[in-house]
Symmetry: C2
């Protein structure tokens, strides 16, 4: 490999050769990838945690990771039934233990029967996951388990991304990337995406008949990302927490059909709907009910996972993607790509089985399961309400209702001198705000600039996941910090 | 999107529009990906299994998946200690149960303490995995846990692949792919790889001082794959089962250093060494012991997983990659890419912890753990020996000693008329042989052409994993089939 003069002289100074793999010889597209939710602010949060561990004095005693939807990290307890069945699957010696309810044992036996060698330790016989589980999922709306591909959390969507998002995109120099998240798509599509975003932005506002107020702008912006021939929809919305109406989803489907867009529906927050009058409608169900020409033709892939919802089992990395109206040959290619990864984690597959097919009312575990599930969702609803209330009381902060998902996306007013100071530092103004917030309070949130926002406005995304009383303190602390920050730069 | 005339007329005939996403509009590089271990022969095996289920009469009663190294699917029992600790982690209510040994409970508590919210259900706080586990691994040879990145089985290596394998490769039109396996690399690098393979092939034979016999050709071919500036080494070898000597590894390191190649060492079979006199040497340890200029400069990434070895826990998708002498800025990019996936499956991370740090001799579980571990490895050694013996007794089949890993890679003589018949069918001759074998015996193996083999020679890869007596019957059945096949086409 030819070395640049700079590399060579550096190497000579060190008495070493230059590395083979450097930022210059590396795949140049990798550098373009951005992922706000785990970006530089999270790196700094990690460092602060380590400093706290080492006894360094800070104006706070712990770092609060309100940047990521990780319910159990915030203290949410796992649902008993799910963990009982999983423990039985992991260690079948427990099947004779009197400490487990019968339905948990039956479910574990049923899952193990469907596993290679009756063990979670075998690859699932099919790269798209255990047949039984795909059938259970498939059976809810369709008779096509082959359209269901189990996945590693949100990483299998990357397979669809590889087929569709990158398909045209690669012609424009888009990086291969392991996730189809909006954020990443934006990162990898770079400027091209941004210009497209603007074009479609207005089109969509007209299309959806939305009031072009700040609220709906944020909602639209949060809920959508458009690449060259793919539309990505988050429903309920991330980061804005908006829950789309059925009419809105129908309009989106008509729009995708007319514009010839492959629809990717991220529906991982489908359990997380809090607002009175809001309801989750799956893109697939709405599509099916729209009838011809949409139902039989519009191409769609919808995603779900075990990470969000009432279960919050992020660490198990369970999930699936279901495809509708996909070209059969393309679907074969998708299966081939999945086979290269051998299979998604089998414990996550087992967990997904329980999520798509929870205890029935006649099962011994039903009452406890239902009570635990409702308790989690009721607490989330209370936290959603509290977040909106506290933020909207704070001068200079405005927050839309958190109708669903697990984030608020408040807008913050930042004084012009703070914006100037950020620019001097080469930071987005809301990144500057969030970094200062982290350093002074230990609260870690994601700057709105990481998700895209209307020029000249500033937001941050904060989860609603900390325990209720702790969340109240955090919201108040954050509001006070904003007031102090505003004063400092006024 | 413009439709081809053919697409349009087809669509008109069906009363439907052409799909948005087709083989033509899809990312064209996806089609180039090949993965022999789960290729068309495995697809056919799946169909046969389904036919058997439906009661279709076949000349066999079950399909034997000897194509893939999946020990537990072949009946190997999980190691008790590993599953005990995992069950305790999954369901911490069991920590008060008298049925679990104290050291298992202590380990589970230690792992849970290191998890977000003390639960396997939280993302690991760092995208490279739980700090504790990386420290335990890192501590074995180095004091740099930051060089250890936990992974989803063999899928995180794709992150390295993204950086290195694809780096130069993309300039030559190489597909992004989720695995760095030799097979895939070959698939995606296509003809370019093949020509490089030939160039380096001879260079390596000279370099390694290997006897250019059929045996060493196979060994070299199986153990190596070379892309533009990356060398991939499987040690012990897959598919050939060869265990490299220390001298050989040193020669490889010198070669990589002189040729300026980034070394990728696939060491997932490091427990699986059977031949008397053979010993596993890790690339990293050898590199460190070689001293300057190699130790401080040669760039290396080595991979391990929980899937092979004595534990055979494929379904948990645990693993790690450890980098040595990697450029710090590139390592930051690698961490960024991993963060997009959030984290590897946490149950797999927990399992990896137990694998890198098994019970110590003073622990209550040590005796049973050690006995179970030895029993598995002793049986594998017996199967390796048996495979070599039975195959070498069969006329027209020759098999090198299976020194390590879990596969034999016997060479089969195929009669010229069979080769012609295969060519008529558009199949590689060994693919034709393997498909016939599957149809007539239910034994599923991988054609050598999927891995690359010397022109005019034919091989297949078969695991040594079925239970000993079943394996004997399979080997004999396969040998008889070969004799019959040879007769048929003579």
């Amino acid at each position: 490999m030819a070395l640049s003069t700079g590399d060579q002289s550096q190497a000579v100074r060190n008495g070493l050769r230059a590395k083979v793999l450097t930022l210059h010889s590396m795949n140049p597209r990798v550098r373009q990838v951005e992922y706000a939710v785990r970006g530089p602010i999270v790196q700094r949060a990690l460092e602060l945690e380590q400093e706290l561990c080492q006894g360094v004095k800070k104006p706070f005693t712990e770092v609060i990771r309100a940047n990521i939807g990780d319910a159990q990290a915030m203290g949410q307890r796992p649902i008993t039934f799910l963990r009982q069945v999983l423990a039985l699957c992991v260690n079948p010696d427990l099947l004779t233990s009197p400490s487990f309810p019968d339905d948990a044992k039956k479910r574990a036996e049923r899952i193990l029967q469907a596993c290679g060698g009756h063990s979670l330790g075998a690859y699932s016989g099919q790269p798209s996951g255990i047949q039984l589980i795909r059938e259970e999922r498939g059976g809810r709306y369709i008779e096509r388990p082959n359209n269901v591909f189990l996945s590693t959390g949100a990483s299998t969507p990357s397979v669809v991304g590889l087929l569709v998002g990158w398909a045209r995109a690669t012609r424009h120099g888009v990086a291969p990337s392991p996730s189809p998240s909006t954020t990443l798509t934006r990162g990898t599509l770079g400027r091209r995406w941004r210009s497209l975003q603007v074009d479609y932005y207005l089109a969509r506002e007209r299309l959806l008949g939305l009031d072009v107020s700040e609220a709906s702008r944020c909602a639209v912006q949060g809920a959508w990302a458009l690449a060259t021939f793919v539309a990505v929809c988050h429903q309920p919305g991330n980061p804005t927490g908006q829950v789309q109406t059925r009419e809105c989803i129908e309009a989106v489907i008509r729009f995708a059909f007319e514009e010839r867009l492959f629809l990717l529906a991220d529906e991982v927050y489908q359990d997380n709907v809090y607002a009175a009058g809001s309801q989750f409608h799956s893109f697939k169900k709405v599509l099916m009910e729209m009838g011809p020409p949409y139902a039989g033709q519009q191409e769609l892939a919808s995603f779900h996972s075990t990470s969000k919802g009432y279960m919050g089992e992020c660490g198990f990395r369970g999930g699936y993607v279901e495809v509708v109206n996909m070209d059969a040959a393309v679907q074969q290619q998708m299966l081939k790509l999945m086979s290269v990864r051998l299979c998604p984690p089998v414990p996550g597959q087992a967990l997904l089985d329980l999520v798509v097919s929870p205890p029935a009312p006649t099962d011994p575990s039903f009452a406890q399961f239902q009570a635990e599930r409702q308790a989690v969702l009721a607490e989330l609803a209370a936290k959603a309400k509290l977040t909106e209330q506290v933020f909207n009381k704070a001068p200079g902060i405005s927050c839309n209702p958190v109708q669903g998902a697990m984030y608020s996306f408040p807008r913050v007013q930042l004084p012009p001198r703070a914006v100037e100071r950020a620019q001097e530092l080469g930071l987005a103004p809301d990144m500057f705000f969030c970094l200062r917030l982290l350093e002074e309070t230990g609260i870690c949130v994601v700057p709105g600039s990481g998700f895209g926002q209307r020029e000249g406005t500033y937001h941050f995304r904060m989860t609603i996941l900390p325990p209720l009383e702790k969340l109240r303190l955090l919201l108040e602390k954050l509001s006070r910090f904003h007031a102090k920050f505003t004063l400092e730069y006024s």
